[in-house]
């Protein structure tokens, strides 16, 4: 790999042993993918995937200490994934005790994050790219991020450039100010090797469509046709929210880091079908295929017929548009059922900055009146508590389904559970 004199000096130890190891890791990482050079990280801010002070992840915190002691603090300010704890989210005494044990390193880890370059005390969300949060990259900017749902969104919806980096590697890129150029940082790597033809009779559920795409194409880039008609033909807030959830499902059920939606996403609008490789495979998604994919999800509740004890909506965190939409639909459904409050404890999650913006709208009081808790917690971190994981938890997130015992329901089914207690 060709390195600039500054990069070579860092590798040779001119800035200390720790930074030399950081650069060595990045060089080896690039060489594994045939990268010939490092390129500067041009986005203003970084984002870290590791938000949790989990007692069993001690090796990661030891490494953070090494970085701080070695002066390898971040060149970039960064946001971080959601916090794992929120006292407002329903928990019983035993669950609280387990949380206290599990996340016993949380305060220490947040202190490390502040030393390394945390943007602000409340910069904890997986949707750092939303305008209220203030970490929204521009098209063409190079990022060093790792959070899979944020990477796929930044690449696809914003047109930024970022590989599906791992946690820690993304921090190393931010510290060094450069990342190896390969994969999704190159024009060739952003071309599609799959054409996905959406031929459904109605707007597909974003979470199931993304899951189907992820399971089929795995880490390849899909070019999606036929979806624009269900998104109103433009990249407005509703379309962005849809693509946020679809992308997160494709990234967690497979390993998608970039997708193009014909007529919608920036590169598809600018380059059209020239983004499709000549040897691209075709995957047709119709109603039957979506039903097949949905039916393949295992239910690992102890009692598959149990009534849900908790509902989670917002993994990734909800946008302001989605919070308003859920509030409107929930209030209407409750009114129709003659109820004032939800039948099952329910948590909506959103970035702290989005929740603050929502609080200024009339919908905030309406939502509060339903009994729904609005939190900025990471639902996955909540479900990692084995006592929480034993509960029958319902979610509209395919990502949460994949990584926990939560059971997936469509948005309409979730609404029914919130109102009637079952589906």
């Amino acid at each position: 790999m060709r390195l600039t004199p500054d990069q070579q000096a860092m590798l040779d130890g001119a800035k200390g042993e720790t930074l030399a190891k950081v650069m060595k890791t990045l060089v080896m990482y690039g060489e594994a993918f045939g990268a010939e050079e490092m390129v500067p990280v041009t986005a203003e801010k970084g984002h870290l995937v590791t938000s949790f002070g989990l007692s069993m992840m001690k090796p990661v915190y030891d490494l953070m200490d090494q970085l701080i002691e070695g002066g390898a603090v971040n060149g970039q300010k960064f946001s971080v994934d959601p916090r794992p704890l929120d006292p407002n989210v329903p928990t019983n005494l035993l669950q609280k005790l387990v949380f206290k044990f599990m996340y016993s390193k949380q305060d220490d880890y947040e202190a490390q994050l502040r030393q390394l370059g945390l943007l602000e005390d409340d910069a904890f969300t997986c949707t750092c790219y939303l305008p209220q949060v203030g970490n929204e990259p521009k098209q063409g900017q190079v990022l060093s991020w790792a959070e899979s749902s944020a990477v796929v969104y930044a690449n696809s919806v914003l047109g930024a450039r970022c590989n599906r980096n791992s946690g820690i590697l993304e921090l190393f890129g931010s510290i060094a100010g450069c990342v190896p150029k390969f994969g999704l940082l190159t024009d060739e790597g952003r071309k599609a090797s799959w054409v996905v033809q959406v031929k459904t009779s109605r707007r597909p559920e974003a979470q199931i469509l993304g899951s189907a795409i992820g399971m089929k194409v795995m880490e390849d880039v899909p070019y999606i046709q036929g979806l624009d008609q269900w998104l109103g033909g433009q990249l407005d807030d509703a379309a962005k929210a849809y693509l946020k959830d679809m992308g997160a499902a494709s990234a967690s059920n497979g390993a998608v880091g970039l997708y193009h939606v014909e007529g919608i996403t920036p590169e598809a609008c600018q380059q059209g079908k020239t983004l499709i490789r000549p040897d691209a495979q075709v995957y047709v998604i119709d109603d039957a295929e979506l039903e097949r994919v949905r039916a393949s999800y295992p239910c690992i509740w102890k009692d598959p017929n149990a009534k849900p004890k908790l509902c989670f909506v917002g993994c990734p965190h909800l946008s302001l548009e989605q919070l308003n939409q859920w509030t409107g639909e929930l209030c209407a459904a409750l009114e129709q059922a003659g109820r004032k409050t939800v039948a099952v404890p329910t948590v909506f999650t959103a970035a702290p900055a989005v929740a603050k913006a929502f609080a200024k709208t009339p919908a905030a009081d309406r939502l509060k009146g339903t009994g729904v808790v609005l939190s900025s917690i990471c639902p996955l971190m909540y479900m990692n508590n084995p006592l929480c994981g034993k509960m029958p938890v319902a979610t509209s997130s395919n990502k949460l389904r994949t990584y926990s015992s939560a059971r997936y329901y469509t948005d309409a089914e979730m609404l029914q559970i919130m109102v009637k207690g079952e589906c």
């Binding site: 060595k24 080896m28 989990l54 090796p59 980096n165 590697l169 497979g254 390993a255 690992i300």
Partner: protein, 146 residues
């Protein structure tokens, strides 16, 4: 006895029993419970992986097409290595993915328990190798099954 030649991503020698995943290996989902609750055998907790679910992964020659899922994957592999609960080696039929590469390299540079890693062994490798087979890995990326 069959031999396969791949590319050493993290060169090294290993000898272990094969553990084969024919589908993508979801690193976080697979290691999540074992790391959290101190399971020294690193029993696989990925309910979506019928090949590996509830099987021990520590010390095995993990044979797989690629890793999938959360981008904490590399960090999780690194953590497993630091805790001595890592697979003995990682053997990929396909070119390695970015998360697995990160994990293997982090373990090699920053931990005392490197995982020799070989990729591009070919589809025929995953067709030939069976869970329980004896595996030998050489520094040049030669993998012997049986």
């Amino acid at each position: 006895m069959k031999q396969f030649k791949g590319r050493p991503v993290v060169p090294g020698k290993a000898k272990a029993e094969a553990l084969v995943s024919h589908g993508g290996f979801n690193t976080l989902a697979s290691f999540q419970k074992s790391l959290m609750f101190g399971d020294k055998n690193a029993t696989c907790s990925d309910q979506n992986n019928p090949d590996l679910y509830q099987k021990p992964m520590a010390g095995k020659a993990l044979c797989l097409p690629m890793t999938i899922g959360s981008t904490t994957g590399g960090m999780v592999l690194y953590t497993a290595a630091c805790m001595g609960r890592q697979p003995a080696c990682l053997l990929f039929s396909q070119p390695i993915d970015s998360l697995a590469a990160a994990g293997a390299i982090l373990a090699g540079v920053w931990s005392e328990n490197p995982m020799p890693t070989v990729d591009s062994l070919g589809e025929e490798f995953l067709q030939a190798v069976k869970t329980g087979d004896s595996i030998t890995v050489e520094e040049d990326g030669t993998v012997t099954v049986g």
